[in-house]
């Protein structure tokens, strides 16, 4: 498990800054939500941590090690995408085996790890199906399974529940939170839904227009919002 430290991080895609002067310390084993309205830079921040985008300025450290120039595969993080990004030509088992195969683990170990992760997520009966034969909720679980099948330094989630219906979303919130407690893994969770952030996170990073507005526990934000933006955002009832 790991700490993630961002020092003065900025990002510009070429059309003006999208993130400015981001300073943030994500502690070992913590569940942190990046919360803010659409277009505020949540996904960009997550992708900077993942290594899928290069920071324009600033330092990103994982466990104290500078990772700015490290490829995604060498950062040892797992990510769950909003679109799930399941490999359509592979079965559920092959999807979940992929990260382990990339690490050249022995076949028996891979099978055991996939079986264990599948059991944890209730996917055992679906292991031989292709993604197109799964419901949205099942696909979401497979995406989770592909992340938890190994023990990465941290989990990154980009709005993983936004394509589910309200009931399933509520259920998965609890499940992800429980998984987090079981695994004790550092998690960074992007959401535009304040209720999701408030119920799941240990700490919330409120973002607006590329700037951090406030960092604190859900209680901090509710009781002592740093500014009108945070108060307004939390006041919304989706």
């Amino acid at each position: 498990m790991a700490t993630i430290t961002l020092t003065n991080v900025g990002k510009d895609y070429g059309g003006g800054p999208v993130l400015r002067g981001i300073n943030l310390e994500i502690r070992d084993g913590e569940f942190v939500a990046l919360m803010g309205p659409s277009g505020c830079g949540k996904s960009t921040l997550l992708r900077l941590i993942a290594g899928l985008e290069d920071a324009t300025e600033g330092e990103i450290r994982i466990d104290g090690r500078l990772v700015n120039d490290l490829a995604p595969k060498d950062r040892d993080l797992a990510m769950v995408f909003q679109s799930y990004a399941l490999y359509p030509h592979m079965t559920v088992r092959e999807n979940m085996s992929f990260p382990l195969k990339q690490r050249r683990l022995p076949a028996a170990e891979i099978t055991a790890a996939v079986d264990a992760a599948a059991a944890k997520l209730g996917l055992t009966a679906l292991l031989d199906r292709k993604p197109k034969a799964l419901s949205g909720g099942q696909r979401q679980r497979v995406a989770m399974g592909r992340a938890i099948v190994r023990t990465p330094k941290a989990f990154l989630f980009d709005e993983p529940l936004s394509n589910l219906d309200a009931r399933l979303r509520a259920q998965m919130r609890v499940e992800i939170r429980t998984l987090h407690q079981d695994l004790g893994a550092t998690s960074v969770y992007v959401t535009h839904d304040q209720a999701e952030a408030m119920t799941m996170a240990d700490r919330i990073v409120a973002l607006n227009d590329g700037d951090i507005q406030q960092v604190g526990t859900p209680q901090d934000l509710r009781e002592r919002p740093a500014n009108a933006f945070v108060a307004d955002f939390l006041g919304q009832h989706p």
Partner: protein, 275 residues
């Protein structure tokens, strides 16, 4: 009632179209089995009163057609492989990377498609001759690959654009390099496109006449379109044998599409993302 009428009309329209598209092929087969003495007498009949396979026998036994056929097969296969490889690499770069001069590269590739080939035959001949690449199959493969690569690249680019970027990013998060992600995730999903691109290039190379005729004069390295001209002599055209050779030349193309058709119709990316 209205629906059945619609179906019938549709089927009829399709049948008409298929008949229209296949009629020249039918005529090719018909002439190839028509005995020489009936060719002009029964010229407009749909099917001759007598059929013969003599033309096929003559083509296979007494002409150099088997040699031309082999040359064409080598050239078209090598061109399809080489152009597909180049087009995959270039198409991937165009679809995924932003780089300086990209607009210019694309522009030059488009412009290169606009020249009538006739005007560059002579310069190409001058270029290839000192390199020993005239009168050789390798020379043809080189030229055909160069001329087919731009269009094949645009084709592959559009197929790569159909594969969500998330998929290779997921693969990179899962421990793959970009190249491994391309090999294990993106390329398998573009197989139908790759097959279509390969097929397109194969056919273009298979039926090319101008360069084959101009660059290669020796029969040993002639491809079959150039070889077909051998059936035209100063005073007559041996239509029967020419058509028989044409029918034979259609076989590999037909076989090729028979094998790749399942890739062409498959929607492999279904279920990749939410839905």
């Amino acid at each position: 009632m209205a629906r059945t009428t619609g179906h019938v009309a549709r089927a009829l329209a399709l049948a008409l179209y298929v008949a229209f598209a296949l009629f020249p092929l039918f005529w090719l087969v018909k002439v190839s089995v028509t005995p020489d003495d009936l060719l002009y007498g029964e010229g407009v009949r749909l099917w001759p009163s007598r059929v013969t396979l003599d033309h096929y026998a003559a083509v296979l036994r007494h002409s150099q057609f088997p040699l031309f056929f082999r040359n064409s097969l080598i050239v078209a296969t090598a061109t399809a492989l080489a152009a597909s490889a180049v087009a995959s690499a270039a198409g991937y770069a165009f679809s995924r990377f932003r780089f300086r001069g990209k607009v210019w590269v694309v522009g030059v590739m488009l412009v290169s498609q606009m020249f009538p080939l006739v005007i560059i035959v002579a310069p190409i001949f001058r270029l290839l001759a000192p390199l020993g690449l005239t009168n050789s199959l390798s020379g043809l493969v080189l030229v055909y690959t160069a001329f087919n690569a731009p269009f094949a690249t645009f084709l592959m680019q559009s197929f790569f654009e159909g594969v969500p970027k998330d998929l290779e990013e997921a693969a990179m998060m899962d421990g793959a390099t970009r190249f491994q992600a391309l090999l294990r995730v993106v390329l398998p999903l573009t197989l139908p496109g790759l097959a279509a691109t390969g097929g397109f290039v194969f056919i273009a190379a298979w039926s090319e006449l101008l360069f084959s005729l101009m660059l290669n004069s020796s029969a040993a390295v002639s491809t079959f379109p150039a070889g077909l001209l051998g059936f035209v002599s100063k005073f007559s055209v041996d239509f029967g044998q020419m058509m028989a050779a044409g029918v034979l030349a259609l076989l590999p193309v037909g076989a090729f599409f028979f094998f790749i058709q399942r890739y062409l119709v498959q929607g492999l990316t279904a279920g990749a993302v939410k839905g």
